[in-house]
Symmetry: C2
Subunit: 301 residues, 2 copies
């Protein structure tokens, strides 16, 4: 079923202990779309400047990614991020951030996208996420990501957003900050009380923990990675695999959600194995399914 993602398209420069990837393609909507396209057609909504060196039609060639919602804005510059990961990849530092076109008006939702049943709002200002969501007919399942700066500075907007979405996908520290509660079980419950029926808490190399408003929970470790070359895009690939699977099966019950989280976990594990999108572009669905089965064997007893 129709899956819409709205998020950034970036020119990234990433330094990790494995090397430097200069001016490579990145951005939340790009990682998301690439991961989700293994499962279902994707509608991408995003904006770039006329300086963007990447031909997204070429990037997504052979994948069912609709670029009707890709706006190329003349006289604007593409979003840029430059970051460095620590030796053990546990921390990253932003060296340079140029919002550029992301600081301008958001892209318009094309009419063809308005009936999207599954929607992912990648991390951006919650007022903007709300504004985008309101342009889309009420669908089946809307999920959003957020981050610490919005929790600190735009909490009222974020609370409005939480009332409108079905699922919040959030990092461990952000969940604690948003709920003002260190214990993650209690933090999740506090977040569920504010609107969404599902909260998925990402714990990096420790995987994820999911709670729903029926009192059910699900814990899944990350796929153990012998090589992590570049963690950039892991969270958006996770969301892409997850939402891609849900849209594919047109179901959001808790068993489907567990399977979706496992697929998201697998998608993220491929992303971090290489720089930029290479971890995802160098594989096919068989690789994803193979690792999905391995993850099952690794975790079941």
């Amino acid at each position: 079923m129709s899956l819409l993602v709205t998020g950034s398209i970036a020119i990234d420069t990433v330094s990790t202990p494995y090397g430097v990837s200069e001016d490579c393609l990145g951005g939340s909507s790009v990682y998301f779309s690439m991961a989700a396209s293994f499962f279902t057609p994707v509608r991408l909504l995003g904006v770039i400047g006329s300086d963007c060196p990447f031909d997204l039609a070429k990037v997504f060639a052979g994948r069912d990614v609709d670029l009707t919602g890709l706006e190329v804005r003349e006289n604007s510059k593409t979003f840029r991020w430059k970051g460095t990961y620590s030796d053990n990849m546990d921390d990253r530092r932003t060296d340079c951030l140029e919002l550029n076109v992301l600081a301008e008006a958001p892209p318009r939702v094309p009419d063809e996208y308005k009936d999207s049943k599954y929607v992912f709002l990648a991390n951006t200002a919650p007022a903007l996420q709300l504004q985008l969501l309101e342009q889309i007919e009420k669908g089946v399942f809307a999920a959003a990501d957020t981050m610490n700066c919005w929790i600190e500075n735009e909490l009222d907007d974020l609370k409005q957003l939480l009332k409108k979405i079905d699922c919040l996908i959030i990092n461990e520290d952000e969940a604690r900050m948003l709920a003002d509660e260190h214990n993650l079980i209690k933090a999740a419950q506090k977040i569920l009380d504010t609107g969404p029926s599902v909260v998925i808490i990402k714990k990096g190399e420790s995987g994820s923990i999911t709670y729903n408003s029926d009192g059910e929970s699900f814990i899944l470790p990350a796929f153990p990675a012998a090589e992590v070359k570049d963690p950039t895009g892991a969270g958006d690939s996770f969301a892409g695999g997850l939402m891609g699977y849900l849209a594919q099966v047109c179901k959001t019950d808790s068993e489907s959600l567990k399977t979706a989280i496992a697929y998201g976990t697998v998608a993220a594990s491929f992303t971090i194995a290489d720089f930029s999108l290479q971890g995802l572009t160098s594989i096919d669905k068989t690789d994803i399914d193979g690792r999905f089965e391995t993850l099952r064997k690794l975790t079941h007893f």
Copy 2:
């Protein structure tokens, strides 16, 4: 089948955000025995001073814990530990450590214990662990714990020990330190290369990850705990549940080991819910089996 544990018996004073538990019973062999006794008879080997205020026969009343190997040493003082946990329980500080009787000669292994088929050597100086292990006939499965100070200061002894045991149970940071490798998969492989056929890496609230010399691995999250009152003894309770189950079923194949790790995880989750041993003494086997099934539901997809 016969399960022997050798480790400390302690008088603990523990401060956590939930309160202070003064001069309470603790020690690795005590937590281990209590957890393992839900599964199988346990033989405890340990030493206390004549000052010890606890009657261990009473503590273990109704449980099949053999205290033949408990030595009460006149004119010696019992091991004491005083520690404080941080607000979020992630860190703990040792306020005071009195080795007392633990700095003297180790207890003698009684003849009746020498045919023990399953052996757990709780954390202590590796030379001592070796000396104890050598007094026991070669059994089915010997596991040991260790810690950073032995890795730093007694590495040669520890390497000798690793050649003699089947399983090392170790914390995440200690595994990295022992292997001199940050990536846990590679660290585990390096440790396996030095002797044990199984290495179980404990990751606190993120659970555990296990590798064996056949290239198999198993990842299990911790049981999600809404209340953590006192994490003391979690690791030894984990080992107790794990070794207790293995000794009960008399099997050490990888499927049995997975089940054993799940039981260890459950045992630890009860320990941390209350101070000292109260989390384990207030439950019965039905509670353990119930939480075991819940853990399965929480992690399977």
